[in-house]
Assembly symmetry: C2
Homo-oligomer: 143 residues x 2
DNA sequence: TGGCAATGGTTGACACACTCAACTAGTCGT
DNA sequence: ACGACTAGTTGAGTGTGTCAACCATTGCCA
């Protein structure tokens, strides 16, 4: 619709806006997956962010999601109501609640991560050499 | 936090998850820009999506934003209240309202696009050759 | 030891974003 | 001219997200 989304002035700018298009295509898939698992998109992201192998405090999740503590309270309430996550008391500090992904939560999360990790078709269609080139450049960029 | 965000099994998967990191870094900047212009993030995206040179109907914007018509009603209300956008009657169909970006709207939008187009530092730091390589691969991917 | 600032988390109030269903006004085919 | 359809608005309802106020707990330090 607006032309300048694809009218950059350097190679890097053009690359950046092309990546933007890839992410746009991503959105519908996330919505589909979320509703498929009965989760809202933020809940989905929260569950995806959590690590089944290593409980984190609420505040840790809030930091990872870059949002307020009080926000994750509600998010975790929702996940806990579905038995995907549990609040467990921390040993050395009775104020903090560690978020533990339940067995069911881990199963849901695994399927979810799998679906979300699927490549956009445009990337999947690249030649193996191009895929490696892409990875190598991005590795150099992100160290 | 969760390890599998960076544990892909092919070059393309790794590239895709690295791109994801770039977009994560993008979020705070968008929030900053939005509040700087007194816009909510959805309003910002809406204004950025509109083309000052070519009015579109509400439904066109809704389609571009992949959301309901009734949603853009509210979004446009907000932009119109700040004099950034106007609803104008279409000539040949009195049902449709064309969205016209005002002069002020175009000015705000221009600054906004400029700020949003700034490259993530990781990309800007790439060598010119890498930047071109990145663009070329993405061009091949996205046609 | 006792007091006090600081911290983790929850709650409540509020502003929006967003969807859906119902509605109005206008268009178009037959 | 009637009925099916479309563009947009309205209203209800759900959920996200922030902020301020509030406990319970911790840890410093006098």
């Amino acid at each position: 619709m607006a032309a300048d989304a694809v009218a950059p002035d350097t190679a890097a700018h053009e690359a950046w806006s092309l990546m933007g298009r890839l992410f746009m295509d991503m959105r519908p898939r996330m919505l589909r997956v979320a509703s498929e698992f009965g989760l809202s998109p933020p809940q989905l992201i929260a569950l995806k962010t959590l690590d089944p192998a290593e409980p984190v405090p609420m505040s840790g999740l809030a930091q990872a999601l870059q949002c307020d503590n009080s926000n994750v309270t509600g998010l975790v309430d929702g996940l806990a109501a579905q038995g995907l996550v549990e609040r467990r008391e921390a040993e050395h500090d009775r104020r903090v609640r560690m978020l533990v992904v339940t067995e069911r939560g881990a199963a849901v999360r695994a399927r979810l991560v799998e679906v979300m990790a699927q490549l956009p078709s445009e990337l999947a269609a690249l030649s193996a050499a191009d895929q490696r080139a892409l990875r190598d450049v991005l590795r150099r960029a992100l160290g």
